[in-house]
Every structure is written in C-alpha cells, then in structure tokens.
C-alpha cells in the first residue's frame, strides 16, 4: 500500500513538472490528466473512494476534455520565451521556493511521522450523501446557481456576434 503511494507521488511530481515545463499546451494538458488520475489513486489509498471516482469522471474526464478541446479549437502552438518571463523567473521562483521550505518546515514540525490516522473511517457514498444533504445542503443549493451562472457565462461570452 505505502509503496504505491510513493510511486504515485513521485510520478505525479514529475508529471506536474512536465505541465509547467512543456512549451506545447497539449502536452501540458495530457500531463495534467496524468496528475489527476494519480491523485485519484492516492485518494483511494486515503479512503476517499467517492471523491476518487468523481476525480476521474468529472475532473480528468469532463473538465480536462474541455481544456483539450479548446486547445485544439484555438490551435494553440508552442510559446516563445521572452524577456519578461526571464524577469519573472528571477523574482517569482525564489519566492515560491521560500514558501515551499516554510510550509515543509511547518508541516514536519506539526505532524511528526507518528501521527496516527483516525480509526474506523466511513467514507462511503452513503455517509457522504447524508452529510451533503444535512449539514451542507446550503452550499449544495448555492452550487446550482453557480452552475447556472457558468452556463450563462459561457453562452454570453462565446456566442458569435449577431
């Protein structure tokens, strides 16, 4: 079990790096799909079966297909490096690495390797459904408006000029 986690973790970091380093958007998108699927495996290992399934179907499936579709539609080619991106590299990357070290230090301080997971953990669809329609029924309802806005927005912005 553990070994599977470390394999997935290592591959997902490499794939994530590929998302960022690739100059062609399609390769980035495919790498991102790989990251998403590997994360789904890790979710399974962490006992989140329902979310793992959703991750593959909705995230890796629906959302990323949308990305790939738009990349194809707009025929997005390789990007050309420029002066300003070099500036950003000097400024942004140290900042980001500082953040990484800070959080790692905090996390390792806070949760020493011995931190035990909670015993008897029921994350089946039934338990999630109960929670969703009891405690979280309000965000669930607001989400319906959110999705309507997304449809509306996509139609308003992407339809052709009359």
């Amino acid at each position: 079990m553990e070994i599977l986690f470390y394999i997935c973790a290592a591959v997902s970091v490499l794939a994530a790096l590929n998302v960022v380093l690739q100059r062609t958007p399609v390769y980035s998108a495919l790498s991102l799909i790989l990251v998403l699927c590997l994360l789904a495996v890790i979710y399974l290992l962490l006992g989140a079966e329902f979310i793992a399934v959703i991750q593959v179907i909705v995230y890796a499936g629906a959302i990323m297909v949308l990305f790939v579709f738009v990349i194809m539609l707009l025929n997005a080619g390789r990007e050309v490096p420029s002066e300003r991106s070099r500036l950003a590299r000097w400024l942004g990357v140290p900042l980001v690495i500082a953040f990484l070290l800070e959080v790692l230090w905090a996390v390792w301080n806070q949760f020493p390797s011995g931190t035990a997971p909670a015993a008897d953990f029921d994350a089946g669809p039934a338990a999630i459904g109960h929670l969703l329609f009891r405690n979280y029924v309000l965000p669930f309802e607001v989400t319906s408006v959110l999705i309507l806005v997304a449809i509306l927005g996509a139609v308003v912005l992407a339809k052709k000029e009359e």
Binding site: A106, Q110, L138, G153, V156
Partner: protein, 491 residues
C-alpha cells in the same frame, strides 16, 4: 445530528431566494421582449431587488436585541451585521441597474443576461455576508467572482473588455487557489470548517505555531486579492479600465462591501485568537496599499484607471479599521462598516457622472473628456464636485464621516503614527481629486456631443447625492445603524 430541511432555515435565506427567482424570471422573459423593450429587464431586476430589500428591512426590525439566527447547522448566520451588509449590496446593485439601462443601449449590448448576472452576483455576495462556514464562503465567493468575470468581458467585440476579463479571471482564479490552500490548512489545524469551531480550536492551541501562520498568510493573501490590497492589486487598474463602465462601477463597490464583510467574518469570528499576528500583517499591507493607491492615482490620465487606484487607496483606509479592531476596539469595525456605506454612495455617484460621458461615437473615459464640463453641463459638474469632495473626505460630505471614524479608532488604540500617515495621504488624495475639478471648471472646451440623461441615471444620481449629503450632515441615525450592525460580532 442536524435535521433535514428546517422551515426556519429557508425563511432565513428568503431575500436570496427572492433575488434568485427574479434573476431566473429575467432569463425567461428576455426572449419575449422586443429590442426596444429591453429596458423592462432592468425593471424586473429592480423589483426583485426591492423585494429582497423589503424582506431584509423586516429582518432588521425583527432581529432587535437578539444575537441572530444560526441556520443550516451553523453554516449560515443571519444577524444584524449580515442584514446591514446585504442591504448595502442590494442598494448598490439596484443603483448599478439604474445606471446601466441607458449605457447598455449606447454600447449596443442590451441583453437580459446582463441583469440576470448582476442579480446572481448579488446573491453570491449576500451569502458571502452571511456565511460562517468555509464551504459556504468559498462557494459564495466563487459565485460572485464568476459573475464578475463574465460581466467584465461582457462587451464581446471590445478588445479592452476581453483583455480585462482575461486578466481579472487569471488573477482571480489564482487567488482562489491561494485562498483554498489556506482554508485546507485551517481545516487541518482546526478539524472543522465552521468559523466558530475554528476560533475555539485556535484559542486552545498554546501559541501560534508555524503552520497556523502559513494557513493565515495564504488565506489572507487570497482575500487581499479580492479586496485589491497591495501587493495583490495588479488586476484592479486593468479590470477597471477595460470593463463596461457600469460594471466598473459595480465591481468597485458591491464586491468590495461583500469581500469586507467576508473579511470581517474571517478575522473577527474565525481568526480572532490570532489577532496579534494578523494585526501585524494588516499594518504592513494597509500602509503599502494607501501609499501605492494614492501615489499611482496622481499620474493617471484615464478616469476609470484613476478610479481603480482611488479604490485601492480607499481599501487602504478600510484595512486600518482592522488594525484598531485587533486591539479589541469595537469602533474599528464600526468605522469599516460606516466607511463601506459611505463609499458605496459616493463612488457610485461619481461613476454615474462618468457613465454619462459615454455617448455615441465617444468613449469618454479620459480625464480630458470631463474638461469644461462646467460650461457644457453645470449641473453635472457640481454633482461631480460634491462626489469628489466626499471621496477626498471634506466635511460636510459623507466621506468625512467615514475617514473620521477610522482616524478616531486609530487614535483611541494609540496608533498615532498610522493616524498621521492616513491624514497625510488624505492630503495627497485631495490633490489628485482636485485635478479633475480643475479640468471640469477651469478648462474651456467646445461642446461636441450633447449629454443625454436617461430616467435611470437621474434617479441614481439623485439617490447618491442625497445620501452623500445626508450622511455628511446628519450622520447620527447611520452611526447608530452601524453600531447595531457590529453588536452581534464577537469582539
């Protein structure tokens, strides 16, 4: 265990439900309207907002001395603070609807979706003011933000509108990522997404450890983006300049009110045990925000961009209220709450005049377009003068009351340096607002295209003018209202 579908819970979100229903009604009836009847969409939107506001006023009188109602398992709080914020949001949205009708005709973008999106944005903001659970707050924030992105890019054919939408969207989505990461760490530390529980758990921890620092900083960075505080303000000038002017007016006011309500909930109700830490952070950010906003506003030539920076400087003042609040000073939050009310009216008033500069074949968003306004339309020029005086904080306008309470709370808590700095920047602000006054009154420009005023703009300008002067001259009832709004907050 919390029971299913309680009636009281749904009664508590009645204003939101009403506004949503009217937004849906607009989408349905838009198809039936002829092109020349599109103004009826605005009417439907106003009626919906009116119903929402009426319901909220009823809540206000009924809440009285109570602590407020907690519904949906503690995820939703209906207290005087929430009602107060929601009322400002609804009024601001209503004024924007009034300003939009004529403007959209000129832009040739008079679609029903525009008003529906405005109302949906208002619904998101209302939930943002009431949410006391991280999940509700996140969803509400995203609902507000998505509507803002779409509205910013609403003029599909305009390059500037597209560009503004892309920049706004990318930086907004990035800030959501930061915010979400902060929320995840906070959940890990506290073991709950409920703000009250988070506050309790944070208080139980011996002293702020590195992880809660990281959680707080990422969370606050996300919120600083939303309120346009330095160093996370870069999207503001571009989004303000490129968006349709009525939407610039909207995003400069209503989302600011909602974001600050959200900010108050997070800082006062959630992160109160860490107040010493966030006070430190807020001082730095507030000073940087005031400095950049005020200094960058001086050199602007585009009036919408100018108002972008002016908004940033106002955000700096608002943040100062948190500095005082962290010392346990209730007046600090009261000051923020009053400032938001005042700011909503004076800023929308100023935008009401700017919107009139957009005429057929004339974009009218340069400061030069206001030149000689005194000779062309004296009434407009005097209105603009009053709003600018208020924005600069000159008595007897409302802007003075807003700034006065911020200064007062700073002095009461002994932050004299900050108070002096804030007064200093108020003088700088006077200078750059005066630049516009000089352009309006001193320069003489032949009249090119006549300014035509629609009914909606008339009403909106009237309301904002009356409120700007009324709050300035007779502030007592508004101060009492703000005190009442702050009362239920845990401080």
């Amino acid at each position: 265990m919390y029971a299913f579908f309680q009636r009281a819970d749904y009664l508590a979100i009645k204003p939101e439900i009403l506004v949503t229903m009217f937004a849906l009604a607009i989408l349905l009836f838009d198809f039936l309207l002829e092109k020349r009847d599109k103004w009826m969409n605005a009417l439907v939107a106003l009626i919906g907002l009116g119903f929402g506001a009426a319901q909220l006023t009823m809540f206000w009188s009924r809440l009285g001395e109570g602590a407020g109602y907690k519904g949906f398992g503690g995820a939703f709080t209906l207290d005087t603070f929430a009602v107060y914020a929601k009322l400002i949001i609804i009024i601001a949205t209503g004024l924007v609807v009034l300003l939009s009708a004529k403007y959209l005709e000129v832009e040739g973008a008079n679609f029903g979706e525009y008003y529906a999106l405005l109302l949906f944005a208002a619904v998101g903001m209302m939930f943002l003011a009431s949410g006391t659970d991280l999940i509700v707050l996140f969803i509400a924030l995203e609902l507000m933000a998505l509507c803002e992105y779409v509205l910013t890019g609403f003029l599909r054919g305009s390059r500037r509108s597209n560009e503004a939408a892309v920049k706004f969207f990318l930086l907004g989505a990035f800030s959501s990522g930061l915010l979400l990461y902060g929320m995840s760490l906070l959940y890990g530390i506290a073991g709950s997404t409920n703000l009250a529980v988070i506050s309790r758990r944070l208080a139980e921890r011996p002293s702020p450890d590195p992880l809660s620092w990281v959680a707080m900083i990422t969370l606050l960075a996300g919120i600083y983006f939303k309120v346009a505080a330095v160093p996370f303000h870069q999207w503001t000038p571009d989004a303000y300049e490129g968006a349709p002017t009525s939407i610039t007016a909207f995003i400069s006011v209503a989302p600011k009110v909602a974001s600050f309500a959200f900010f108050i909930r997070i800082l006062i109700e959630g992160l109160w045990p860490m107040r010493a830490e966030w006070q430190l952070l807020t001082i730095g950010v507030a000073v940087a925000t005031m400095t950049l906003g005020n200094l960058a506003a001086i050199t602007q030539t585009n009036i919408k961009r100018f108002f972008g920076y002016s908004t940033i400087s106002h955000v700096g003042y608002l943040l100062l209220g948190f500095v005082a609040a962290a010392d346990g000073n209730r007046e600090g939050v009261t000051a923020i709450v009053i400032y938001l009310l005042v700011y909503a009216f004076m800023n929308l008033g100023a935008f009401g005049v700017i919107i009139l500069m957009r005429r057929r074949d004339l974009i009218g968003d340069e400061i030069d377009d206001l030149s000689g306004l005194m000779t062309r339309a004296p009434g407009m020029a005097i209105l603009m003068l009053i709003f600018l005086l208020s924005l600069a904080g000159i008595p007897p306008t409302a802007g003075f009351i807003g700034k006065y309470f911020i200064f007062l709370s700073l002095i009461e808590t002994g932050h004299y340096t900050l108070a002096v700095l804030a007064v200093g920047y108020a003088v700088v602000a006077l200078y750059y607002y005066f630049r516009i006054v000089v352009a309006m009154f001193m320069k003489k420009v032949p009249d090119t295209v006549p300014i035509a005023m629609g009914m909606g703009v008339r009403v909106a300008l009237g309301v904002t003018l009356v409120m700007t002067l009324l709050i300035g001259i007779y502030p007592q009832p508004f101060i009492a209202m703000a005190r009442e709004a702050v009362r239920p907050l845990f401080l």
